[in-house]
Amino acid sequence: MKPVDLTTQLGGITLRNPVITSSGTYGFGEEYLAYCPLEALGGITLKGITPLPRLGNPVPRLAETPAGLLNAVGLENPGLEEFLKSYLPKLNKVPTAVIANISGFSLDDYACMARALKKGSGITALEVNISCPNVKHGGMHFGTDPRSAQEVIAAVRAETDLPIIAKLSPNVTDIVEMARAVQRGGADVLSLINTLLGMTIDLNSQRPVLANTFGGLSGPAVRPVAVRMVWQVAEAVDLPIIGMGGITSWQDAVEFLLAGATAVSIGTGNFYNPQAPLDVVEGIRNYCEQRGYSSVQELVGLAHRG
């Protein structure tokens, strides 16, 4: 029997397999090397960067909830200049696709980062974060209004030839409307979902646990919401989707593929099991073998049939 073809086409780039790691959970690619070789992954998505360095929010930044994790890191990052100087040169040698995640507070912010992260710099694609729930202006503000979302993506499109991945917020009434808006702006790929806005309160102090009061919920608790949104967008919009939200196992990943995702991304699942991406790749391969699929892409959207 021929081995299962795991290669995945995504917005003009070819990934070794459909398993990516999510922005904000995988640092700049070095942190998990002792647990997961990067050449085993389809790609990694870097921590979100902004034009200027950010210290982010005060601690506590994390709070556990049943099967979930609230975070309010607040886009702490070294800033574009330091990223270009200290991180980007090392990423040239990384043996997998490298997706940079960019965030900003104005259209100019997004445009200037797209200009700086050129083709040939070691970056495979740009993920445009219009959905961070943990900063006061920008971030999710751009991702909850369709017109703003379209403008941000168009501003990035005007500056880059790299594939553009628009990372969508689930904190909207109609995810399909948002997906259509970023498609009009020129996005090549959709990432969904970012975290769901939530909070939790400490019964002893009788105060919110997170210093930022609100945080973004991730982990297995959000998976059904994410699968539903991938399904809805896959029905309505003709762009490849990176499905994410609560994936910890190969079964979770296959569910996203069946719902219509072309690739999947693992975020909080890495904290639970730092070898989850390896297990997911192997599990997808076995599932395809056992069911007689020659390519993983045959699974994409299967749940929508007849």
């Binding site: 904000g24 959970t25 995988y26 640092g27 942190e31 998990y32 002792a34 647990y35 921590k47 210290l55 982010g56 005060p58 601690v59 506590p60 930044r61 994390l62 709070a63 556990e64 049943p66 099967a67 979930g68 994790l69 975070n71 890191v73 702490e76 982990g219 297995p220 608790a221 910890t248 909080t268 890495n270 904290f271 639970y272 099991n273 730092p274 070898q275």
Partner: protein, 282 residues
């Protein structure tokens, strides 16, 4: 590394209302672990995993035995994660990540003074072993709630080391009544030559502290006043434990006096006391 830890012993320490446990895990982590490092533990047996809690629990390594492939963890049952961990039985297999983080450094000369508040004593168990094996003179200052706490949390084994112990309890049931910082302050004062005793020779002291944040801040301020180097072990809620998620940052001052963030899991948990910004604003 990510490895399995076989539970070979899991017992209550001292009286039951102290909720302290001693957990011995057998596995390859012991071969590379150093004093002051920690592991993160998935609190359920690997055959019965669950998402509640979702995250692993960081616990400092109290003893390391390379001959037996064993690490010993001491912990207090404090919340849902440790409540579930407390149910682990001999023969269970727990998923362990580690060893992680950087421990205390050992001074090349002089005396090492250990300062512990409450269960901040636990990471110092491994430290005292390596300090004594390097021939350093060690003193312990340890404050706790009560005699029952100190005895449950391993006082006997500290006594067996034959080092000088200075103890305090909040209720006065053992040692001095009050805070451990007061003991440290008077010991640092006594170590200084004074006008009445100008001939007294000052011993070169280094301090390693672990305990509540307020205690470590006070001890750091004392050490700065007496010009004594101090390292502190910080604690913060952790996500990934490898420096990727930025959940567990602490605020430090860099050389120019600017506030910067470091990751407790990767850059720490031990930092120089004078670097730490105790009342951070960012």
């Amino acid at each position: 590394m990510l490895a399995q830890g076989l539970v070979v012993s899991h017992e209550q320490m001292g009286s039951s209302n102290q909720k302290l446990r001693r957990l011995v895990l057998q596995g390859p982590v012991a071969q590379t672990a150093k004093a002051g490092q920690f592991v993160t533990v998935q609190v359920q047996d690997s055959a019965r995993t669950s998402f509640d809690p979702l995250l692993r629990r960081p616990i400092s390594i109290a003893e390391i035995s390379q001959e037996r492939d064993e690490i010993t963890l001491f912990y207090r049952i404090k919340g849902r994660g440790t409540e579930i961990l407390a149910q682990a039985r001999c023969g269970d297999s727990l998923s362990i990540m580690g060893p992680l983080g950087n421990g205390f450094s050992l001074p090349e000369e002089g005396e090492l003074w250990l300062v512990a508040g409450g269960i901040g004593i636990f990471p110092l168990f491994a430290l005292v072993q390596s300090a004594l094996s390097q021939g350093l003179k060690v003193r312990l200052f340890w404050g706790g709630e009560s005699k029952a706490f100190l005895e449950s949390a391993g006082l006997t084994s500290w006594k067996e080391l034959g080092i000088e112990l200075s103890l305090s309890t909040l209720d006065g049931s053992l040692g001095e009544k009050g805070l451990v910082t007061e003991l440290v302050q008077s010991a640092l004062s006594q170590n200084k030559p004074t006008e009445s005793k100008p001939e007294a020779k000052e011993v070169k002291v280094s301090v390693a502290a672990c305990g509540p944040k307020g205690m470590m801040q006070s001890v750091t301020e004392l050490c700065q006043r007496f010009n004594v180097p101090i390292e502190v072990s910080l604690e913060e809620r952790m996500g990934c434990a490898v420096g990727a998620c930025l959940g567990c940052v602490c605020t430090l001052k860099d050389k120019a006096g600017r506030q910067i963030h470091k990751k407790v899991c990767l850059d720490g948990p031990v930092f120089r006391g004078e670097e730490v910004v105790w009342n951070e604003t960012c």
